[in-house]
Symmetry: C2
Subunit: 348 residues, 2 copies
């Protein structure tokens, strides 16, 4: 009896496989177009984000909303994902609330050193700058490198010289420095002085915020773009470059899979080539975005890393993961869905 | 009749699957150990390498052999893959024949700017330096960053300051500059002056050599390490960082898959996250090393990129690919196999 059942099942399976009857009778009217799907997702950094005073919370939410809506508007008007990413990141860079552009953290010498990168998922073209101290919006410099050079990554004074030659204004480093960051640096340096081995430690855990900003967008043409901008780690050694300007680590976009922007202790995202790993897992293991992100974040966690990532795929599906107490994050889709969140768990 | 056959095959298949009879009676004597497999592979850059004068050819072959044997000796004595990679790259850096260390190419201002990276496939620990001008062996600086900081990538003066603090001697930039490279720079700048758009071009084709050096080793403990060291592209813009110091792009090592070092127009290797892609394709598509390398090199070629890569997997299998007229390359395995090659096709 069992054998007979098996035999029947097997024959049925063969029949279905050979005729492909699943799709035989489906007809789709080509004149009825699906509503264009576009979407945008952003982060303002992961880290020790917990129980912020209501006023501070409101300030973050308002600025995140402003940046999200500005990028979304670009997409709604048919603008490119690249333009939307730039617009959103510019607003976050200009706000002293985030560790990017104005108000970025300071290196061990008390100097700002900013990194940024951008990638076009349609062409795989990309641009990045690292360790710049005189460019108001590092993401704009990254776009300039992408569009006007044969290079991907320019660093330090060379990058600034190039931007100046291309007509960008250089600004004094003092523009970026805020009293809040100076105070934070002092506190951290005092704490590190107590631990002589701090230099060898992967990080000082939760006392630091990793307030990088990033944005990923999918436009009406189906193109994905991703960008990241940061001041790096507070009290970093002079010349340290994190994952944010590294294509593959902090930023990656490929129309075939997804766009990703990361935040956290960049070294772990470099070692795991985090953003590119998500893309590869989607491509080669055929896993959905959130599963791919989860796998990579588990790997980072196993190595001792902390941080998070946001991303979207070519269908506009959005996912984010982080292993800190919070991550400033938000998304908006053309179907009306919208979220702005700060903490790991819902408050109340 | 057909149905009966199908039914029998299916039952047989079920039986085999359920009993796992393949391995049931196999016994392996734990006292008989397989000969330890170790191997080393190196490159001295890909590019326009064709019909070199016999004396030059001999000089390259002799230096490549010296570097290969030095690294191999480390492995044969039970030393780590990391030590072998360092030893081999040091010899190539110290030779003015290659575009790494002494005799490296010069940037558009006539200044040397060197990059290097190293990765340990066992721990995924890595270190890198970019745009340094006063460190004799950049791969040593990369190892110092890996071993003595919480960072992966230090750049420019900050990297040099760090090395100095850790006891490394800084040397004058003039050490790196050779008459041959000064002449090459002059020629290229004269050619670029004729093409106003050169700045926007991906590269000037075959008139440039991409003489980066790299090495991948597998030691008797089964650990893989990979390293790359370079002077970058001749006449590059001040501050340009290529793929060599970028973990994932120019260098990657993971005991679970392979170790890779790349050479060529670095921007294409960054955009495709080349070294990491090979590893991911092996892991997730279960392709052998050479097939994974081939896929990535085809992608680079499709984008217009030129260069090559070397690599080995955890079993000591070795593979290399390039799309230029030649690539300085060599390998040696513990089973006695050894090759030293310069051109795409065998001469004679």
């Amino acid at each position: 009896m069992l054998m007979k059942t098996l035999y029947v099942s097997f024959s049925l399976f063969l029949l279905i496989s050979l005729t492909g009857c699943h799709t035989q009778n489906l007809v789709r009217d080509p004149n009825i177009k699906a509503k264009p799907v576009y979407a945008i997702v952003l982060h303002g950094g992961a880290g020790h984000i917990k129980d912020l005073p209501p006023k501070v919370e409101q300030a973050y939410k308002a600025k995140i909303n402003e940046a999200l809506e500005a990028g979304y508007k670009v997409l709604a008007h048919g603008g490119s994902a690249l333009k939307a990413v730039r617009k959103t990141i510019n607003i976050l860079e200009d706000s002293p609330l985030f560790n990017a552009g104005k108000g970025c953290v300071l290196n061990s010498l008390g100097k700002p050193e900013l990194d940024a990168s951008i990638m076009d998922g349609q062409t795989l073209n990309c641009g990045a700058v690292a360790s710049v101290s005189h460019i108001k919006n590092p993401i704009d410099a990254a776009i300039l490198v992408k569009d006007s050079t044969r290079h991907v990554l320019l660093a330090g004074k060379g990058a600034e010289l190039f931007c100046k030659e291309k007509g960008m204004d250089l600004i004094p480093a003092s523009y970026f420095i805020t009293p809040r960051r100076l105070k934070q640096l002092k506190n951290i340096q005092a704490q590190e002085a107590k631990h002589e081995t701090a230099f060898l430690q992967p990080a000082l855990g939760d006392i630091k915020k990793y307030g990088t900003v990033g944005c990923v967008a999918l436009d009406q043409q189906g193109n994905i773009a991703a960008g990241t901008s940061t001041g790096g780690l507070m009290n970093k050694e002079y010349g340290r470059i994190g994952d944010s300007p590294i294509i593959g680590a902090g930023t990656y976009a490929d129309n075939e899979s997804c766009g990703i922007s990361c935040t956290g202790i960049g070294e772990y995202f470099i070692r795991t080539v985090a953003a590119h790993s998500v893309s590869d897992i989607m491509k080669y293991q055929h896993l959905p975005l959130y599963r791919a992100q989860q796998k990579v974040m588990f790997k980072i966690q196993d190595l001792g890393g902390r941080g998070g990532m946001i991303g979207l795929d070519k269908k506009g599906n959005i996912a984010w993961f982080f292993n800190t107490t919070g991550m400033f994050r938000a998304f908006k889709k053309s179907n009306g869905e919208k979220q702005i969140k700060l903490y790991a768990l819902a408050k109340k």
